[in-house]
Amino acid sequence: MNPPAFSVRDLGVTFATRRGPVTALSGIDLDLHPGTVHVVIGESGSGKSVLAHALLDLLPRNVTLRGSRHLGAEDLAAADARRWREVRARHLAFIPQSPMSALNPVRRVGPLLVELARARGVARSAAWPAVAAALRSVDLDPERIRSSYPHHLSGGMAQRVVTSLALVGSPQVVIADEPTSGLDADLIDRTAGHLANLAERGAALLVITHDLTLAQRLGGTTSVLYASQLLERRHTGALFDSPAHPYVVALLDARPERGGRPIPGMPPELTALPGHCVFAARCTRVRAECRREVPALHPLDDGGVRCVLHAGVQQGVG
């Protein structure tokens, strides 16, 4: 496999708050390879969006960040604000959550997109053609979009506009934060298609979502986050067919088509994470050793799972 375009090692994010430190992410490793899709799923508060923002260095000031981030071979620990701006502009494309509010309501969409293309290093004369091509590839009429204000757009159009941001100037890494929230089924399908196109064009795509259907459609690799930790990472198909971690099993069974059985209990408070498996309190297969320490990410043949049940096992269990 190609060397990763972006990689993260042992990433940890802690927010200093009045009620004490809140652990939003801990011990995350992530490799984004060119031309592949990596989906991160998890429920609200599991740290998904923080992960996207941590990759882009868009976290607020009260955050302590541990671990390393590499763009290609470059260690971004050494990057100053100027370099980060350049990295965000040229190398990482960010598809923000809730597209309607991500577009400045008092600016016409055309000039806004042209500005972004310019920031990506597209020449002034080539900027609008590049933007127009990107808009066409998400089935929008460039001339109509050009002079529109965001409030002229429907939710689906706004979503496609921000998706097209990732197509301008072919950035190496595309990070999409909940690209389908608030869209209906038809639009989710189209967005999934547009995102899949991005990976086909050679971008390393990271999609953050709580939409399991979207994850399944996108394929690639899926990581499951729960209470700041990575619990399972597998090929997407294998994860959905034969989840290994009890949490993922329960999560998939909670889907309406699988009976809609809710997982009893609540996720742990991020201010007071247990010093052992974060899912132990809700797990039906809990053992004494689950409450001893945080389990390691045990390797499976197509990924890994953070569960003592799989210690030493090289095969996913159904």
């Binding site: 494309a93 923000p96 509010s101 008092v106 920031a119």
Partner: protein
């Protein structure tokens, strides 16, 4: 079945205007008349110079505002003075705008100790009597910059506080909007954020504040000129005329001071009425904040 929306009736715009409150219509008419009269002063009422055979003539058909102690027509003087007053106050309000927006943007964008420091400065000046402050500034600037620039600067420097507060407040809320994170995620620098994303948002609030600032500036300029701290007599503003008229007041010639005073009153009330109406239409939530 689809039906076309009916074509807008002719003169719809005019009818819409006519539904506004009578006070607003009157204010608009008065203001338009005053501005036109000020601009067209030379056509309407050519300056007729000194004429010692008709000194201190009371208002008559020939001289509706009477004449002054050198026989000059007070109407002709007043129209010219009004032009000066309008120009100076527009400049002064622009100075206030420039300073207020700059300070507000700095405080709102940089935040932290910069914000704290700038806002304490605003509080400090806000707690002083701003007219006394304006007088102090005029006295400081006059010898260096000349009278007109000194007046503009002093009125500007004593009136930017409200603008700075409004702009900072707007920015504090703008900063947290998702499109800012999106822009930064797209690689926007701080300067680009301010110019391309923040400033376009400030338009309406700043415009409303400006319109409300204008009558205030007219009033302040006149007050400074009345005290002899404003413009020199050969560039007389309305305030100068009122001050000059005082001397003749005891001789019974009330018209030299009263008519320019009425013009100031009319202009301020008209501007204020329109500005408040506009503010309430566009930004009803600022009713309380913008009492200048």
């Amino acid at each position: 079945m689809t039906t076309l929306a009916p074509a807008p009736p002719r003169f719809a715009r005019l009818r819409e205007v006519a539904t506004r409150p009578t006070s607003v219509l009157i204010a608009g008419g008065v203001l338009a008349a005053l501005v036109l009269a000020a601009l067209g002063a030379d056509l309407l009422r050519p300056a007729d110079g000194i004429a010692l055979d008709r000194v201190l003539a009371p208002p008559s058909l020939e001289h509706p505002f009477g004449t002054d102690e050198t026989g000059r027509d007070v109407l002709a003087l007043s129209l010219r003075a009004m032009r000066v007053s309008f120009a100076i106050s527009l400049l002064a309000a622009s100075v206030a705008l420039l300073i207020g927006v700059t300070i507000g943007v700095l405080a709102g964008t940089l935040g932290g100790w910069v914000d704290g420091l700038l806002m304490r400065i605003v509080d400090f000046f806000g707690s002083q009597n701003h007219f006394l402050f304006a007088i102090l500034l005029v006295v400081l600037f006059r010898p260096v910059l000349g009278a007109a620039a000194a007046v503009c600067l002093s009125v500007g420097l004593s009136h930017w506080l409200v603008l700075a507060r409004i702009v900072r407040g707007e920015l504090l809320s703008l900063r947290e909007r998702p499109f800012v994170a999106a822009a930064v995620g797209g690689g926007a620098s701080r300067a680009r954020l301010v110019v391309r994303h923040f400033l376009p948002h400030l338009g309406p609030s700043v415009a409303v504040a400006m319109v409300l600032l204008l009558p205030h500036a007219i009033f302040h300029e006149s007050a400074l000129s009345f005290l002899g701290l404003g413009l020199p007599p050969h560039q007389a503003s309305l305030g100068n005329l009122i001050a000059a008229g005082q001397r003749s007041m005891l001789a019974g010639a009330w018209w030299i001071s009263v008519f320019p005073g009425l013009l100031i009153l009319a202009a301020c009330v008209a501007f204020g009425t329109l500005g408040e109406y506009w503010r309430d239409r566009h930004q009803p939530r600022w009713r309380g904040e913008l009492e200048l």
